[in-house]
Symmetry: D2
Subunit: 403 residues, 4 copies
């Protein structure tokens, strides 16, 4: 057992930390100003392209992608501490490194399951950061944590497929640069539970695709992430070669996509919690009430200590999960993947809540990143299946050990 970073991770860690200090944090106010000045609330401001160019120059590009034909070829364990750092500035850093959800998961799907033609047409520009993509899975009318509930249909018709259905929380789809959707639907409702689903590529400009509105998260539109769209698919016809892999493989692809996705989300949240702890420490060191800095109040110190204790534990669990995924595979790491999905958002929510409280009213406002960080942590208790589904499933596996 050993808790040291390997040389490549240490090197990238240092480079990325420098990039954050030198460019990303200073770009945060510029980003806000540019966003405020845009005509289209969903457009991306120029600062983003500048950051992307710099990150690429610094060798901090596509770090997320384990397949070294296409990306950095890092293991999950190597990438995890880097993803954490990007979570400290989640509106800028992941996109700057071309490591933003949902593109990361979509690129993984295309690199692992896409045909050469699909890779050429969509993976390539995604890897170059020229286009964005969306993943259309969740549906408003059913409990989507149960994949057998999915109502969207993908039906073979001649030399193509016809897609009908309604999705929401299709993250990124409000972004005008988002040109390709991966859509999950049922191609064979009569098949075995986990062979009913397929995934298909639907270009955004295909007739019948309607991006209806952006969902809010608390009061946020998440424009900086391309929003979360409600999308209607009405008799949307795409050529047969837009299907990913083969009919019936949708569930398996979704599962393959989820493991790394959860690791990335969780690592970024740890970065968000670290940022919140730092802001809290800085604030309470400066702010004076009733004649002394807040930092001298016992309750505030208690928050700081408890934050440190919770962050450390959560980080180690994510790292171990990454290591398990690398060594025994996603399936062998199933319990741990669920465990971090349960543990990390609630940890981050707690830490950020305390940082908010330490900031007084500024904490809930636009004057700190805290309220937005909190909202994204809270939302991850629901995204990719609510906590309760993961808890029930993890418990079942635990019970089997002793019976």
């Amino acid at each position: 057992m050993d808790f040291t970073f390997d040389a490549r991770t240490a090197d990238l860690h240092e480079k990325l930390t420098d990039f954050m200090q030198e460019e990303v944090y200073p770009a945060e106010p510029r980003f806000e100003d540019e966003m405020a000045a845009l005509d289209n609330p969903w457009a991306r401001p120029p600062v983003i392209e500048a950051l992307k160019a710099s990150a690429r120059d610094r060798g901090l590009w596509n770090l997320f992608l384990p397949d070294d034909r296409f990306g950095a070829g890092l293991t999950n364990l190597q990438y995890a501490p880097l993803a954490e750092i990007t979570g400290r500035s989640p509106h800028l850093a992941p996109e700057a490194l071309n490591c933003a959800a949902p593109d990361t998961g979509n690129m993984e799907v295309l690199s692992a399951f896409g045909s050469p033609e699909q890779q050429d047409r969509w993976l390539k520009p995604l890897l170059e950061g020229q286009i964005r993509s969306a993943f259309c899975m969740t549906e408003p009318d059913v409990a989507s944590s149960d994949a057998t509930n999915i109502a969207t249909r993908i039906e073979r018709d001649g030399d193509g497929y016809v897609v009908n259905g309604r999705k929401w929380w299709s993250s990124g789809a409000m972004n005008p640069n988002c040109t390709i959707f991966i859509v999950m639907g049922k191609s064979d409702p009569g098949a075995e539970r986990h062979r009913q689903q397929s995934m298909i590529l639907v270009p955004r400009d295909t007739p019948g695709v309607t991006v209806k509105r952006g969902m809010h998260v608390f009061g946020y539109t998440d424009a900086s992430h391309g929003g979360h769209a409600e999308v209607e698919f009405t008799d949307v016809r795409v050529p047969a070669d837009h299907l990913i892999a083969e009919e019936g493989s949708g569930f398996a692809i979704a599962q393959a996509r989820l493991g790394p996705g959860r690791i990335h989300h969780c690592m970024r949240l740890i970065g968000a919690a670290e940022r919140a702890l730092q802001l809290m420490c800085e604030r309470v060191s400066e702010r004076v009430a009733f004649g002394r800095p807040l930092a001298e109040q016992g309750v505030v110190r208690d928050w700081i200590a408890e934050s440190r204790v919770r962050i450390e534990q959560a980080r180690l669990l994510v790292l171990k999960t990454a290591w398990l995924m690398d060594t025994v595979g996603n399936k062998g790491a199933h319990t741990e993947i669920q465990a971090i999905k349960i543990a990390v958002p609630q940890m981050a929510e707690w830490v950020i809540d305390k940082a908010i409280q330490a900031h007084g009213a500024a904490g809930v406002s636009q004057d700190t990143p805290l309220a937005a960080l909190w909202a994204s942590a809270r939302t991850l208790r629901l995204a990719d299946g609510p906590d309760e589904v993961h808890r029930a499933s993890l418990a079942k596996r635990e019970l089997r050990k002793y019976s």
Copy 2:
């Protein structure tokens, strides 16, 4: 000891419940549509005036005001259950009844401390629901929970006063109908701690008043409450008769204003929690996952039971506090007023969080009122002094009992 409503309360309770069912809940979607259609995001949509007219017809007007020269003449204990009901639809009901913060507190101040001229010029149109008002107390640069920190100056100069300072979280001030500000500042920084402050009336259109921006609350602008403005006062001159009561009475007026304000906030939050519990129960009864309604899941039932248990306890504490204020005065009810300020927002936050979770992603979105209700509960852990200040003060009093 007796837990029954008196006849007047019971009668108003029934009338108000009818009004909610017949007009307020149905107006919620209309309100959203009208807000979306407005040119000015801060303007008030027509539905509000319709509700106000109806509430007035039904005898549900100015219920909050204990002074029967001006208002309904209810005790705190009589008004509390009514305020609770308005909290079920906090964007519409309080304003419909002319019982919305911060006007309620401002009207109390004017009715108790205002000169006949001040009452005539500002209290009257406020009581009629013709204008709105703001209360400018909190400042961005100091911990305002400690009133001696206030930096805004109110200085005598000839036949007037000159106000200089910067305020934020001046709720209601973004509303174009908001025409009068009550401003807290220091008139004599050399006086005894609690005689340094004064309050003064500043018409919004006085030269030197700049409403700079609206503060956000978890992404919300709270436009329906008139927002929370940052306001600058630069050499703002008002006639001397705009001072409320006398120089040095600002702290005492603020204290008198706070007690009822907290009761009202807390009662509305209890209504918000009840609404959330109702929405949770309805949702889980309808929603099916893994083959059965969510309502059959043990964890969901646990949330429901715990919500009921917490709401009941909090409500009783608020009612007892109202009774104490009526019988022994705000000062005698000091411990209980602080206790509800501590207890109720955290209760409401907890219940609403569970309702959100039960709704899945819809819970954090604009498709239910839950996320906005949560944000306002969370914010009340900071408004009127953060929890920690009240906890420390309550504990000191408790410790004195035993030493």
Copy 3:
């Protein structure tokens, strides 16, 4: 609505408070010394009889019993604040007033359902404090929160009944003065669910009754309460007139017994929490660490404030529950009775835990009453049905409101 004690309650409250100050608290160390000196760990020390005599002289006797033919004739609402006070010294005060469980419940059963002969033979000496009794309900082999699980048999055989079964947690039965057991068993397993059970009086010295051992509670034997016995009934024959009421009425009697029992338990726990809060305040005012009294530490103040806030809420809910039982009956108060059963033990556990922490290692030891108070609060999350059963049941009722 009114939160004042009526005259009778106020008078008894004052008398009881005086008795506690003048006799009960001073008797606590004497009790410990006398217990240590006894040969039989289960015997009752002489100080108890002295306290009983004095309480009777002071008019503080059988206050619990609402039936004024036999007891004080107080309503639940009148008795509740008195029971609270006895909970401040739970090893001495309830017994001193002849208001100790399980005798209180047993006396209620006998006064309401007993035959004149049963009342004469057992209720009378119980009311005089001459004998003690036990209630034999819980069984080791089944989840007794579900009454249909009860396995003990009560079978008619000629002019008597024969009892067979195994009980545990028969509180009081280790006390040598405990001479009569009320035993719950099935007389007709084939009847409708809630008509299968009967209750029967079994004198302790009946052949076939074996008191096997005392159960421990976190290491405590609870000798001062007569322990919690495991009891075997092997072909125990009693005359037919020992049956209480009629065959098949056991479940109904148990339900009637439970409501007041829960109120009493909860009120005593509130007294226990108040005692813990007082001890905490006293301790932290005296104890110095790192150069200042613990009372000046923010975290300690936070505990004190939160304790006060939680106690006040819980007390009000119990009082309202008592009022409901008096005005609409146990059935109408069902939700509230379950609510206090859920809320009060967890509140008391929390407060006492903090008081323990404030005492350092002394808090877990025999040098303060805190650890024992904690153990009894913890146990009440299990006694009379675990929290989870009450939560599930309360939630079901809540869900019905909205469907």
Copy 4:
């Protein structure tokens, strides 16, 4: 980074697991029976010696001691997973392996700081498991978490030292085999804060030593650990060569002793939590209520999942702490040592509490090990300094990072 055990750890882990299965768990009921049959409640039953002999045969002896002149020579990281396993049966396994507190800490002190004569006279028989020892640090009259408060005096007088003072919570001292005490006291109250203290060896039979009573932990005497004694030292004279190291080194020795002690305590608690989780899973799989096994109840599953999630995180933090101690030393691992002291007892308390609840009344009784495990977890929130001291200290260090 790598999460695999090295070969030696893996080998010992397997051997120890076998020993637990084959001998320790089966010995638990025998231990209870033998304890019950003893005349002296503090004596050790024969089963212990049998287990010790077997553990020694199996090569599972003195594993705790990193100094390979005297013990197994394992690193903290190697020993940690083994200590965890012993925590599953804390009354038997640690002593069976000669790895029980407080002897472990005392043996470390003697091996690192003892003179050859001290090692010969006391370390040797301790290593052989022939005698036991106590560590006399905590005092009843002062907050001992602040070492400068210590009131016991160690005064040079001719060719010896004279010890005066009162200690309590001297764990192990009630055991008749406990023949040597290490006593902390002040030798020079005028010296610099951390040079005032010395440690000295006091044989139990020295005149003036009075073992007054055993302290209770909740209702437990902890006889199986040799209890926790209150000890008076009245003019106790020992030869000068009984002083450990040199005058003024007491604080430094105490600090050196604490790091590994905390690791050991924490690892054993993780084992205790694992045992509780196992018992909970087994219980709920068997127990039926309302027609189905408890294991099918959502709330119970939630406990199980949450337990697993908490245990995993806590274990990783302890392992990393052990690794840090091995690689950068106790001082470099200061934050992490405090972090596990804060995190692990509260985790264990939570998990064991849920296991208790799942067992119903059996859970608080002597029929499962759960209540005793809980009491020891709870006590560790106080032992070696209350949580609050560690939290405040950890927070101070955290704050320094950002200022």
